[in-house]
């Protein structure tokens, strides 16, 4: 008998937690003794420049990567390799450009996980239509291949794929990073609406402070693998922890003419 599988179903104050987590890649420290926890139902934005370690946090939470030191836990249980499938089925993961499988139609992409979970085709179709409405994707786009969809549509399908099995948490890594400004703006609105509507635990990675502030009550600013400041947007703006935070918030310049 193997060790009992971790039980991720017990309700817990924090859905995800990192404790003193360090991760290095070939000598470069991506995370340096970082401790963070993400409360159930909260929306958190991880911000910072490239290489700050934001994406590494998400990858560690899903067990796509493992820490060199420290522990990662989900729903109160430390991550274990043989419990990963169950964990991942409860978490939706959406990345920049969507990560859609080019050999499957949009519906095929959506159906992959539920089919494995044993859903009947009709239920999959229903759920896909339901989510298409939520994500405002035209239904006929479901039959198309990723290469036949616009960038915005691809991103919507990726989000829908993350939501298919109604996960408890949603991890998004630069979900709007590859979109042009107009589509991006439109999707920001919709995403925020979806987050509040679904009430799931959301962790979103972005390098855009305004987007972070728009989505999340809580902003975690990372730099060189360390948490520099953790708080509301106003805290970062009005009480920056150091010069870097000040520089970061000021780098998001106001438009000329004062139309912020």
């Amino acid at each position: 008998m193997s060790a009992p599988r971790p039980d991720y179903t017990t309700p817990h104050a924090a859905d995800f937690a990192l404790h003193e987590v360090t991760r290095r890649y070939q000598g470069v420290t991506a995370l340096d003794a970082v401790s963070l926890s993400f409360a159930a139902g909260s929306t958190t934005a991880l911000i910072g420049g490239s290489g700050a370690g934001k994406s590494t946090v998400l990858r560690l939470l899903l067990g796509l990567d493992w820490p060199d030191a420290g522990t990662v836990s989900a729903w109160g249980q430390p991550l274990q390799r043989d419990g990963l499938l169950a964990l991942r089925q409860r978490v939706g993961y959406v990345i920049q450009e969507g990560g859609l499988f080019p050999h499957l139609t949009a519906l095929g992409n959506l159906a992959l996980q539920p089919r494995y979970l044993g859903w009947p085709a009709e239920r999959i179709r229903q759920r896909a239509h339901e989510l298409a409405e939520l994500a405002r994707l035209p239904v006929d786009a479901l039959a198309r291949y990723p290469a036949e969809l616009s960038g915005g549509q691809r991103q919507r399908v990726a989000l829908m794929r993350g939501l298919m099995a109604d996960p408890d948490a949603l991890l998004l890594d630069e979900p709007l990073g590859a979109l042009d400004p107009i589509v991006r703006h439109e999707l920001q609105d919709e995403l925020k609406q979806i987050f509040s509507q679904l009430g799931k635990t959301v962790v979103v990675v972005t390098h855009d402070l305004a987007e972070a502030a728009w989505f999340a009550d809580r902003l975690v600013l990372l730099r060189d693998g360390r948490v520099v400041q953790d708080g509301r947007y106003e805290d970062l703006r009005d009480r920056p922890a150091d010069d870097f935070v000040r520089a970061f918030t000021h780098a998001q310049r106001a438009l000329p003419g004062g139309a912020a």
Partner: protein, 491 residues
């Protein structure tokens, strides 16, 4: 996955053969004629004998006889003393050889009546011009270009020993196929080559046989070797072989060689005329021959390919999943690829005998690398974010493999299979050297007889088949590549 499997089902024509007695021959005319003589003589005694023609060189025949894949073949005493039996006196007589061969289960007849010695020859005119009469005269002429048959280059009684005995300079020596060396000599591409003393071309091309003044070459009395077990199992056959003893003198043999090589007569007809029996079975018509060889060639290439796909795709998957093991697998299949094809065929003989099976095994091994490597590369080339997206959906490895990774790697895998199949069609022409038939058979015979039309009879269909295979796989690729990938590629 299911589709890949259905691709594999284009396989397995029956490869088994029913077995009458089999006489083998080497890849040169005299050997083929002698084997035909044995077949004719046995037939007269009422025994049906199959002639496995032109089975490459001495090594192949010798090993096939020892493994019982053939029952008899014509050999020469000098080859036995110099090459096959390392521990006998170079001038051992047939009785001594018989005593030495008996424990190995091999019998030997007495001399058939002629010697076919190795000799060194030059064009008369060129020899006269340089004043060369004997082999030792060559030492004073480092400028002459030597071209020896490939077998002669390596044999214990060949070039290395000759060079040592006569103190010849080592420069400018080229290896050729024996069938080509006369043409090379005639065209002036080489000045000196090795001859067989019964070769018809000696007179035809006006060649001077250089005197072996230091008595380097041993005698090569023509004999038949046969499996001793036949003395019990088929005494009539052994008696038929022995009836040829002493019947063929040197002029007779040279005449028969000339009829085959210079007059283009069929070996079977020549043998029948010599024995005074009616010529057996007319040759198949062109289309019948082509059909027969195509069946042999295609079944060889297709069966080995199918088998390779069955093994190589899983190996490629394993190699992509476990990196360390993967390096090992790719390294090993890579080493297989570096084995020269003829050597690979010969290596297979102790394991599988001669005929279709060793050819199948050799082609199978050659097909592994392109498929393993392309499967491996195709899987590893899948962008990390796609592989991680599949992982992040909580799908187990097998589901990810069959639903995501293999479909995404389809193109690369098919390209590997296509490469393997084209290589297979080409390499299978060499399979004739170990008795597997196919398009290689007329090519071998054509080279031996200097008959271009016969060479083309094998080479042209082989080229056409390679092109057809290419087209076929392009069609399969279009059919199997997921539509979404085709659209993505067009964007």
């Amino acid at each position: 996955m299911k589709r890949l499997v259905c691709l594999l089902l284009m396989l397995l024509p029956a490869l088994g053969v029913a077995q009458p007695l089999r006489v083998g021959s080497k890849q040169f005319t005299e050997s083929v004629i002698l084997a035909e003589l044995a077949r004719g003589e046995a037939q007269r005694a009422g025994i049906d004998v199959e002639h496995r023609r032109e089975l490459g060189g001495t090594a192949i025949l010798w090993s096939a006889l020892q493994h019982g894949d053939i029952d008899a073949y014509p050999e020469y005493t000098g080859t036995l003393t110099q090459e096959l039996l390392k521990d006998v006196a170079p001038d051992a007589g047939i009785d001594a050889l018989r005593a030495r061969l008996a424990p190995m289960g091999i019998g030997i007849t007495d001399s058939l009546g002629f010697d076919d010695n190795y000799a060194i020859g030059m064009r008369e005119q060129r020899a006269e011009q340089l004043g060369i009469r004997s082999i030792s005269d060559l030492a004073a002429h480092p400028e002459v270009r030597l071209g020896f048959s490939n077998e002669f280059m390596d044999r214990g009684d060949g070039w290395p020993g000759l060079r040592q005995r006569y103190g010849l300079p080592a420069t400018r020596v080229r290896g050729l196929d024996h069938s080509l060396s006369y043409r090379a000599l005639a065209s002036g591409a080489v000045d000196v080559t090795d001859l067989y003393s019964t070769d018809a071309e000696i007179a035809y091309y006006h060649l001077r046989v250089l005197q072996d003044d230091r008595h380097y070459f041993p005698r090569y009395q023509a004999v038949f070797l046969y499996r001793l077990a036949l003395e019990r199992q088929s005494p009539v056959f052994v008696a038929a072989l022995k009836r040829l003893v002493g019947r063929i003198d040197e002029p007779a043999m040279r005449r028969m060689n000339a009829q085959a090589k210079l007059e283009g007569q069929r070996e079977a007809d020549i043998a029948a005329r010599f024995l005074g029996v009616p010529a057996s079975g007319r040759e198949d018509g062109f289309w019948q021959r082509l059909l027969h060889r195509t069946a042999e060639h295609v079944s060889l290439a297709a069966a080995s390919l199918a088998l390779a796909v069955l093994f190589a795709v899983p190996l490629g998957i394993v190699a992509a999943r476990w990196r360390r093991l993967g390096q090992l697998v790719i390294g090993l299949t890579g080493i297989l690829q570096t084995v020269p094809s003829l050597a690979m065929f010969v290596f297979m003989i102790p394991l599988f005998g001669i005929g279709a099976w060793p050819a199948l095994a050799a082609l199978f091994l050659y097909s592994l690398l392109p498929i393993v490597r392309n499967t491996h590369a195709g899987l590893l080339d899948i962008p990390l974010e796609l592989r991680e997206s599949a992982s992040a959906l909580g799908l187990p490895w097998r589901t990810r493999l069959t639903r995501v990774e293999l479909p995404l790697a389809t193109r690369s895998i098919l390209a590997g299979i296509k490469t393997a199949s084209v290589i297979n069609v080409g390499t299978a022409t060499l399979a004739a050297l170990i008795g597997a038939g196919g398009y290689g058979q007329p090519i071998l015979t054509g080279i031996r007889l200097n008959d271009i039309s016969l060479i083309l009879e094998g080479a042209v269909p082989a080229a056409v088949l390679a092109m057809l295979v290419q087209w076929l796989f392009e069609g399969i690729e279009r059919w199997l590549t997921p539509r979404g990938l085709r659209i993505a590629a067009r964007e």
